[in-house]
């Protein structure tokens, strides 16, 4: 399966970089005010800008409508970070435009008419922004955006006006989680107009010690300024995670080693694994590889499993509808096979 994690070259603290631009069409009410016909018109209009032949090597893009997908197929897209839960809850009026290698996804009629997202493995915020800007210009070539000289790009929620930019970096922070330092980071980030959240963004908790750091303020700063401060902040968090890992190794080296090997032991031999347990154990293994403690597991294998073990993506690997217990069994079998 092509997913972002498996595209990574190794395991590292920084997993992916993501850029999201919120855009709306001029003089048309926002999605929550639209009926099905009007919503479909917008879907056609936006997809029309990206379905031509003159895209100069970008694309091709596929339009995904949710009424034809099973629940597992839809939620697997959420687990692969292509779409949000909110987009599915409005399935009859929404759509997504996705490219082949799944690093571009454009949600249509989520909270805003257009939510353009570019994801890249590793620490590549600037590259992702350039790519997003390119796509944004293509769409703007044919669609008039709701834009105000003072307030910038106008959005459904005032928290996104201005640049409409949410830049985020997904980080693997096991040592900071163990030392319960993430709360402290949250407080500090809030003071500089940024935030840290769980793996699936807004309102989600952290699973497998994966977090997203992103900007909160979207107005008054340019895109470059927002990204430069995010880069600086993420660099500091990475330093802290490294320091926490070293401290852990120095103070509790044997216990840490024991913990990491036990994790890989459970993953290799368990007959049933819940998604939470699997993600937490995989997180330990990932850290073990980074720290050079675990040597016989390839980081790519772990990265791919992080997506494969999640409930909906797992369901897709079976022909029949699975119960919770059957899923745990299949999950354990897949993990065993891979390791």
């Amino acid at each position: 399966m092509a997913n972002l994690y498996s595209n990574m070259n190794g395991s590292d603290i920084i997993i992916t970089s993501r850029i999201r631009l919120a855009r709306n069409i001029k003089d048309i009410p926002f999605p929550h005010k639209l009926d099905e016909d009007k919503s479909n018109e917008i879907i056609d209009k936006v997809y029309g800008t990206l379905s031509g032949d003159d895209l100069q090597g970008i694309g091709p893009f596929n339009l995904v409508r949710f009424n034809k997908l099973s629940s597992a197929e839809k939620f697997s897209m959420v687990e692969r970070h292509l779409i949000s839960k909110e987009l599915i809850s409005n399935a009859s009026k929404s759509a997504a435009i996705v490219n082949e290698n799944e690093n571009v996804s454009i949600m249509i009629n989520e909270e805003d008419h257009i939510r353009l997202q570019v994801m890249m493995p590793g620490f590549k915020l600037k590259e992702a922004l350039n790519y997003a800007n390119e796509l944004d210009d293509i769409i703007e070539g044919k669609i008039d955006y709701a834009f105000d000289n003072k307030l910038g790009y106008l959005t459904s929620c005032p928290t996104n006006v201005g640049t409409g930019l949410r830049a985020s970096v997904m980080l693997h922070l096991p040592a900071l989680s163990i030392s319960k330092s993430v709360g402290g980071i949250l407080n500090t980030l809030n003071q500089v107009g940024m935030t840290i959240r769980g793996i699936y963004g807004e309102g989600s908790s952290s699973e497998g010690n994966i977090y997203q750091v992103s900007n909160q303020v979207t107005l008054g700063l340019s895109e470059e300024e927002i990204i430069n401060s995010l880069i600086a902040v993420v660099g500091k968090i990475v330093d802290q995670e490294k320091a926490a890992r070293n401290a852990l190794n120095e103070k509790q080296g044997k216990e840490l080693e024991d913990d990491l090997y036990r994790s890989i032991g459970i993953l290799k031999y368990a007959r049933m694994l819940s998604s939470r347990e699997a993600l937490n154990l995989l997180s330990n293994v990932r850290m073990g590889i980074d720290m050079g403690i675990i040597k016989d597991v390839k980081p790519e294998v772990v990265n791919e499993l992080i997506v494969k073990v999640q409930p909906a993506t797992l369901q897709l690997q079976s022909d029949k509808e699975l119960s919770g217990a059957e899923r745990d069994e299949l999950r354990a079998a897949i993990v065993r096979d891979a390791l």
Binding site: N24, K26, D27, I28, P29, F30, H32, K33, S71, F75, K85, E86, I88, S89, E111, N133, D136, D137, E140, G141, D144, Y145, A146, F147, D148, N149, K150, L151, G152, Y153, L154, S156, C157, P158, T159, V161, G162, T163, L165, G193, G198, I199, Y200, E202, G203, S204, S205, E207, V217, T218, L219, G220, L221, S222, E223, I226, G324
Partner: protein
């Protein structure tokens, strides 16, 4: 027990809510629970309700000096018909024009959220018009200053010419705009 929503599958997610002393129970199957916005399966123990924008909206209005009673609910946006009351309830405006229609309420709110109210970022290429040109000129002026500071006079002269060119096109654009009116 069957799921209250689809009445097909076994209910495996049970939620008891007590709000202001009123108890409500919800029994759902896993699929329906996932589709239910009130349920957050990644937080099985429901560590508080996710802190949403609506939750803090009223608080922000208060510190912006806009009391609830002062807001005139008779005013509606001419494009989408949204009222201020709708916005307070949903936390979302109805269309781009709402920002202008409810300027007195929205501008202080936006300032509270972002700390500023002047967009300095990207401008639409095609429809940005004059603003786009002005942004480009500002950027070049900064570059000009740096190159003079670095005593790169040849580069500075090039940048100066570019600025002149852009200013000329801005003037043309400006006059064109006036002509149309």
């Amino acid at each position: 027990m069957l799921c209250q929503n689809c009445n097909k599958k076994e209910a495996t997610v049970h939620i008891t809510k007590i709000i202001n002393g009123v108890k409500t129970e919800l029994h759902l199957c896993e699929d329906c629970a996932r589709e239910n916005p009130e349920v957050n399966l990644s937080q099985p123990f429901g560590i508080g309700v996710p802190f949403s924008f609506q939750n803090i909206l009223d608080g922000l209005f208060e510190v912006s000096g806009i009391e609830k009673k002062e807001v005139n609910d008779e005013i509606r946006c001419p494009v989408c018909n949204m009222s201020m009351e709708d916005f307070r309830r949903t936390g979302r405006v109805g269309c781009g024009n709402c920002y202008a229609a409810f300027k007195n309420e929205m501008i202080p709110l936006v300032k509270r959220i972002h700390g500023g109210v002047q967009h300095t970022g990207k401008v639409p290429k095609r429809t940005g018009g004059l603003l786009k040109v002005r942004r480009d000129i500002d950027k070049l002026k900064e570059e000009l200053k740096t190159s003079i500071d670095n005593e790169e006079y040849e580069k500075a002269a090039e940048i100066r010419d570019k600025i002149k060119e852009l200013e000329k096109s801005a003037d043309n654009e400006n006059n064109k705009g006036k002509g149309e009116k």
